[in-house]
């Protein structure tokens, strides 16, 4: 695979690392009992701790700690028995404390890795540097009033897991696959709801460019991207910008950038003179966080099957390709649906590949068209299984099955009902098919002569005519075979 960008003088390679912020799926905040519910009226979920009233003390949420450990295990990472909360100091209107409680030197989770799978069957590991727990800030609205910013502190103090990758990513697509994979792991673990629109999952992207083989170039950081599409767009724009500067003899200034989603451009956020000095120091209000090996073992034992394990199981049990298996396991609802479908009938286990295709292409495209997802599909796994069984036993053709699926989707009926009601059973009676073909040949004598004279393309026409007469129900293979036989006899 060629990951390089063509330049004026030589090719360029992107070097990309991601910092993903994942909101812990918890009822209450990291250090206070306020609710984390999304979309509540402004400042209605703010305790005196969140508002940083003098004398208030943080008390850590045990569940959030467990979720961070769980996530660490899911990222194949080292869990640290000892970690420390630090204050990251800066002034901003939506940060009442004047500091964010985060983890700096001693994060709760250390080095790990995740694997991304490519369409061509290859895969790649992206190394994780660390995962730490921290507080989210409040929300500022800048565009409501020309001279004011409005602040809502409901999000202030909500628990975030920041997941930092090594700069192992080389293309915008890899960045997209990486964040999808992290999202998938978080959702299997149920430690984050993965909702990028609501900001439960967002990323900062670090990017630099270099001549392949050279040292890393100077990087820029693009802040706060909340969709995979924007991540890819921002990377593409920023890489191009950096290459243009370097090729015209300039140098890259290390900078924090903002991405404008309507123009698709990045621009610097702060200039260097005012570079932040966070003055991290251990939070004197919080003792170090200690987790025993027993607790870690207990949390590990509660972890469900993760996408990679499930993927390998699918490959082994059903002889699926690496790519098919990774598509199936990318989202938990997809793998659940596949499992339920294939387990609905013993016979289907020999047709796993067909089951995959019917879920990931036919059913998915119907769902997409109707803006639905598997969770609210009107076709149950059992009913899809029944439809596939009708195909695998030759009762209906694949082509007719597509219409049946659409009918099932809109009417909620079972495949069996629809096939019986409409009489869609495939015609597999040799004599009946032969009769239709004779009819077609008799009615199209001229065409037959042309065909015999070498116009091979006409074969499709005869097949089409015969299918029309049988209302598409003739078994396509039998139809073809008999047609060939009859035509060849004439020769």
């Amino acid at each position: 695979m060629n990951n390089l960008i063509k330049g004026e003088k030589h090719d360029w390679e992107m070097v990309i690392g991601l910092e993903i912020h994942a909101q812990v799926k918890s009822n209450s905040k990291l250090f206070s009992s306020s609710s984390t519910k999304f979309g509540s009226s402004p400042n209605s979920q703010v305790s005196l701790v969140d508002a940083a009233m003098p004398g208030m003390l943080p008390v850590i949420n045990k569940y959030c700690v467990e979720q961070a450990v769980k996530t660490g295990v899911g990222l194949n990472a080292k869990i640290n028995n000892y970690s420390v909360f630090d204050r990251k100091n800066y002034f901003y209107a939506d940060l009442p404390q004047g500091y964010q409680i985060s983890q700096y030197k001693y994060p709760i989770v250390g080095e790990g890795k995740v694997t991304i799978d490519f369409k061509d069957g290859t895969s790649k590991d992206i190394r994780i540097v660390r995962l730490h727990l921290e507080q989210d800030a409040g929300k500022s609205l800048h565009d409501q009033n020309p001279s004011k910013t409005y602040v809502d502190l409901n999000r202030s103090g909500v628990a975030l897991m920041e997941i930092v990758s090594e700069p192992d990513i080389r293309t915008p697509d890899e960045a997209g696959m990486y964040i999808s994979k992290i999202r998938s792991i978080l959702m299997y673990l149920d430690t984050c709801d993965g909702n990028m629109q609501e900001g439960s999952l967002r990323a900062d992207v670090n990017i630099s460019v270099r001549k392949p083989g050279d040292e890393y170039g100077t990087r820029c950081e693009i802040k706060n991207l909340n969709s995979i599409k924007f991540i890819k767009q921002a990377i593409n724009y920023e890489a191009k910008r950096q290459i243009e500067i370097l090729e015209s003899g300039g140098s890259i200034e290390q900078n924090t950038m903002l991405f404008n989603t309507s123009t698709g451009k990045t621009r610097p956020m702060r200039n260097k003179e005012e570079a932040h000095d966070y003055r991290y120091f251990p939070d004197p209000d919080l003792l170090p966080l200690e987790i025993s090996d027993e607790e870690i073992v207990k949390i590990k034992s509660s972890i469900p099957e993760l996408p990679d394990e499930l993927k390998n199981k699918f490959i082994e049990t059903y002889k699926l390709s690496n790519y098919d298996a990774s598509v199936l396991t990318a989202e938990k609802q997809t793998s659940d649906y596949f499992n339920e479908t294939i387990n609905s009938d013993e016979e289907l286990k020999n047709h796993a590949k067909i089951v995959v295709n019917w879920i990931t292409s036919e059913l998915f495209s119907l769902l997409n068209k109707n803006n639905l997802d598997l969770n609210n599909s009107s076709v149950s796994p059992e009913n899809l299984g029944q439809l596939i069984k009708l195909i695998s036993t030759n009762e209906i053709s694949g082509k007719i099955a597509k219409d049946v699926l659409e009918d099932m989707f809109s009417s909620g009926k079972t495949a069996r009902q629809i096939v019986d009601e409409k009489g869609l059973q495939q015609v597999t009676d040799q004599g009946e098919i032969a009769k239709v073909i004779d009819e077609v040949i008799a009615e199209n004598q001229k065409m037959v002569e042309q065909y015999l004279a070498g116009k091979d393309k006409l074969l499709g026409f005869f097949v089409g005519q015969a299918m029309k007469l049988t209302k598409g129900k003739a078994n396509p293979k039998m139809l073809n075979d008999i047609l060939m036989q009859k035509l060849n006899k004439k020769n």
Partner: protein, 95 residues
């Protein structure tokens, strides 16, 4: 470590505190004498001694994940100099 004019200006800026020349001078002297006093600790040999984070030897207390309905907006906004429809209103900050 010595505090000089540049350092005091930087600290003042980070703390959003405005200092005049006289105040800067005073703080330079005050902070330097504090640092000198603390630096006496360097005389103690701390090789092979683990940093002590807390003398209480207690462990970090934890809460269960139970949310309390706060419905806090009135109380939280009570001291706000300016507010609108449940939001704090502050001078525009745009980066």
């Amino acid at each position: 470590m010595k505090i000089d004019k540049n350092t005091i200006n930087k600290i003042a800026r980070l703390s959003r505190i405005k200092l005049d020349d006289k105040e800067s001078e005073d703080y330079i002297n005050d902070l330097n004498s504090i640092l000198d006093w603390v630096e006496q600790l360097n005389e103690v040999n701390t090789e092979n001694v683990e940093p002590l984070s807390n003398i209480s030897s207690s462990i970090l207390p934890k809460r269960e994940d139970v949310s309390k309905d706060a419905n806090s907006s009135d109380e939280i906004l009570e001291n706000a100099p300016d507010k609108l429809e449940g939001f704090f209103a502050v001078p525009k900050v745009v980066e």
